[in-house]
């Protein structure tokens, strides 16, 4: 018989005998499931963060901030600079000819949390007149849009559930005076954790006369190049242009990196421990079946077949463990709300996302553990002398 047939035979034999060794096999499965579950959960935090920030990011929308500003709160744009930027080439116009460009400000305020005796920071964004028009993903779900010139705000659904007193009719105090919540909105993006108001009204309350960023809707994703070049040529404009996608990526980089590092460091240490556990159990398994294995060797099964059989068995158990861990992580954490500070000092609410990519990583990790944990015992099985079978019988 050639190696593969031999291996297959041994494997089938082992599988049939599995029910005798259910306990120890279960230990490998559950042990590796634990490692996979932790790795997947923490990676899901990072993925959820990126997903929320990117979900509404479009390649044909650009964000303009001051040169060198790391985020909106450290950027400022004077009025004339803003007007020039909003008139740039490639900016889409609405049917009435108005540029779909919104000069905006971002303020961070502290509001009480619902259900807790603490406050947290929340972003309040002041939009230009076309600020909502250029964000078609933003829909008012209750109430109405705020009116310019009046102290009115609309609240994102995430923010409304996270903070106290942000229902329609409530009057949160921002910048020293009360503003009325007149509507709630949903945009499936980071904006859902914020309050939106009219930029000019907000600036008046802040005592400021500059904007912080401009969001423009361009004709097409390709228009961003010419737009950026045109603004750069104008030396009186100290600005930088980012596509919305790039801008959001920059904001989440630090936290994303921290989460991924934690995932892999902790996952790595746990995997290390799991390899020892797998080795332990597979060595035991091999020694328990020493008589069988030696007998098979004695009647002519090649050593390679043994190696393959043990390895495949361990890998299979590990893969099942990985899948189990993924299921546990998904059931427990998919969609779970987490909140954090994103770039700019405001609180962002996002949900864990157990994506197929992460599940694959988790299972691959599990298989790696299985491979390492099964290799040496497999090699030992191959080298088992025939005399063991004779002696034990």
């Amino acid at each position: 018989m050639d190696i593969l047939k031999q291996a297959l035979f041994v494997l089938t034999m082992n599988v049939r005998a599995l029910r005798h060794r259910l306990g120890t096999s279960l230990v490998i499965v559950i042990g590796i499931a634990g490692v996979a579950a932790v790795l997947i959960s923490v990676l899901a935090m990072a993925a959820g963060l990126v997903k929320t920030l990117h979900s509404s990011a479009r390649d044909d929308r650009a964000v303009v901030v001051r040169n060198g500003a790391s985020d909106e709160t450290s950027s400022f744009l004077a009025r004339d600079a803003a007007t020039t930027a909003m008139d740039g080439p490639g900016v889409k116009r609405d049917p009435s000819g108005k540029a779909l460009a919104s000069a905006e400000v971002l303020v961070v305020e502290s509001l009480p949390l619902a259900g807790e005796d603490a406050e947290a920071q929340i972003s309040v964004r002041g939009l230009g007149p076309t600020g909502v028009a250029l964000r078609p993903e933003l829909r008012i779900t209750q109430g109405r849009m705020f009116q310019p010139g009046v102290s009115e705000v609309i609240v994102g659904e995430m923010a409304a559930s996270r903070f106290k007193d942000l229902r329609i009719g409530d009057t949160p105090v921002l910048r020293g005076r009360p503003w009325t919540v007149v509507g709630t909105f949903s945009s499936r993006s980071a904006h859902d954790s914020t309050l939106l108001a009219d930029a000019e009204t907000l600036m008046g309350a802040m005592g400021r006369n500059e904007y912080q960023s401009i969001t423009v809707q361009l004709e097409s994703p390709q228009a961003i190049g010419p737009y950026r070049d045109a603004l750069r040529l104008n030396s009186s404009l100290p600005v930088e242009v980012f596509s919305e996608r790039d801008f959001f990526t920059r904001q989440s980089t630090t936290l994303n990196t921290v989460l991924k590092s934690i995932a892999y460091v902790v996952g790595g240490i746990m995997a290390f421990g799991a390899v020892f556990a797998a080795l332990n159990i597979m060595y035991s398994a091999v020694s328990t079946r020493a008589v069988e294995i030696a007998t098979l060797r004695g009647i002519g099964f090649g050593p390679d077949a043994m190696v393959i059989a043990v390895l495949v068995e361990t890998l299979a158990l590990a893969a099942i463990g990985g899948a189990l861990g993924a299921v546990v992580a998904w059931l427990a954490f998919n969609g779970y709300d987490l909140s954090t500070i994103s770039g700019g000092g405001s609180q962002l609410v996002f949900q864990l996302a157990v994506t197929p990519k992460i599940v694959t990583i988790g299972i691959a990790w599990a298989c790696a553990i299985g491979l390492l944990g099964g290799l040496w015992p497999a090699l030992q099985a191959a080298r088992l002398p025939v005399v063991v079978a004779i002696r034990s019988a």
Binding site: G34, V42, G68, A69, Q121, M270, N280, T340
Partner: protein, 382 residues
Amino acid sequence: MKYIHLVWTGIWHKPRRTVLTMATIAVAFMLFGLLQGIDQGADAVIKTFNNHLFTGNKHGVGQGIPLAHMDKVRSLPGITAVTQWTFFGGYFKEPRNSLAVFATDSQVFKVYSKDFQVPPEQIAAMERTRTAAVVARPLADKYKWRIGDRVTLRTSLWTQTNGRDDYQFDIVGIIPISPYHPNPTLRDLFLINFSYLDAARQFHRGRVHYVVSSIADVTRATEISKLIDSLYANSAEETATTPESAMMQSQMRQLLDFGLIVTLVVSAVFLTLLLVTGNSIAQSVRERIPDFAVLKTIGFSDLTVTALVFLEALLLCIFAGAIGLLIARGIFVVLGMIFALTMPSAVVFQGMAFATLLAFLSGLIPALRINRLNLITALANR
């Protein structure tokens, strides 16, 4: 003690298994030590900041409270010094060089006397010079500022009555503080005179963001905080006072709910470890059933033999757990040189407690089995 030899040989029945089991336990406890150490170490450091209380406007710090609040707070028992703290929010040359500038008065050095000591002549200089600034050493080194330098800062928060947003400051003092001090705000401090800011600015005249007080007895932080707030409850200027530790904590907690991750990981690790260790001990005991049977036959009581099993489990788990925690401690020594963080001894005690629990739970079923051993069946298996 005479049983130690018995227990020891029992543990090393199959050396490879024992080593691998210990390795698994050690790795698990190393992880535990690291995670709990970071989580609790950070907490412990933060708690030392309970000697400062920050009193701000209850409805949002940005609105400020009247400067006059300072006098009432100063007169409360238990308060050793009071100063004020207003966020200036300036930047140096370019908006991205934002600085932690705070407008305050010379009392701030008394309030923070436990954290840093500034020479009295520098404090006097701050009182004398309207445009004085006292800067933390790490910040001064970053921009190469020396005493006597004139620094211009701009701010988008406090436009002056003359419409300008640039303020000139003369550096009269340097705060000797370590770049690794656990309180991040102190490391980059830029202190200026409130009187200068208040006279120049357009808005919020006579108001400050925080009244900061130091208290003598750290354990009374919450009590005194409530006392301060009760002074202004139901008035037009209600306050909310928090100890400095709570402020730092809410900042850190907002970065991410690390507690959740730590709990998740520690639980997963403990459960799987229990499974693995339990299995390993069960197997070892099962293989030695004839040995235990012999012990019982020659006169060892049921209780003694059961105790032997538990002792084996205990020795295994505690020894391996201790190794893991020791490695974690070692890693902390290295980390500590960078982050001024040490692993609290509490973590070691917790670890040992968990190791004991692990030993008990994983040894339970095998021990019960040995307890109820049917001698004849056991010996016949040989």
